[in-house]
Symmetry: C2
Subunit: 137 residues, 2 copies
């Protein structure tokens, strides 16, 4: 586990499958054909179905809630910019950098970024604010 503290950087590699996209569509109700229908997507600039941006951002809640800083994290804020489409069966790397901490309030701001593991291009970026009782310096 990466120790959580100012300027600490944590990396997490992941990929999603079309089954994940379908499961996300079911639980959220977002069945936008841009994500589910190859024929519809073929008519868009993306040419093929793209992952829900919010599913991609799901890696932020996972890592912040289970790894860095981990269990017990309370999400306070998240900004998200969906800069490039994300696709299934593609390796991505999420990179987390602690940019500020407030030991009195047990809060921190963490830069959150997803990069295509092959090209290094950033697909999604933002800043998370969270509270965790372990944030003490």
């Amino acid at each position: 586990m990466t120790p959580f503290g100012l300027n600490a950087v944590h990396r997490h590699t992941f990929r999603f499958s079309q089954a994940d996209v379908e499961a996300f569509a079911r639980v959220t109700g977002d069945d936008n054909p841009l994500h589910l229908d190859a024929d519809f997507a073929a008519q868009t600039p993306f040419k093929r179905p793209i992952i829900h941006g919010m599913l991609g951002a799901g890696i932020f809640t996972k890592v912040l809630g289970t790894e860095f800083p981990g269990y017990g994290s309370v999400y306070l804020k998240q900004t998200l910019e969906f800069l490039r489409p994300m696709f299934v069966d593609t390796d991505y790397e999420a990179v987390f950098t602690v940019v500020s901490t407030n030991p009195e309030k047990h809060t921190a701001e963490v830069s959150t970024e997803i990069r295509d593991a092959g090209t290094g291009k950033v697909t999604t970026k933002g800043v998370a604010t969270l509270m965790h009782k372990g944030i003490v310096e």
Copy 2:
């Protein structure tokens, strides 16, 4: 369907079940016990499991992607402030207000807010930016 245009307001009532929370935990990998473990949650200020903030925000991707403006929406940005905890088996209302449009780029900014349907208190708020070919004025 609510016509999409400047100052238009669209409302959507929803609720999530514990099965939804478990499905969201599976697809994202976020098994933070704050959402899944009643004993763990009992030791926190929330007293009982809370919904993943990102699952609550899933109503934004659903409504923007399927209802308002609807199919074909491309998510560009979303800010999120998780102001109060959200719980399962509780009615919430999501309120969407178009705050600006850019007809040339076919983009719009939409204020997104979740309110407890019983108390009216805001649990989550933010601003979405999206692109849709139907945004022409």
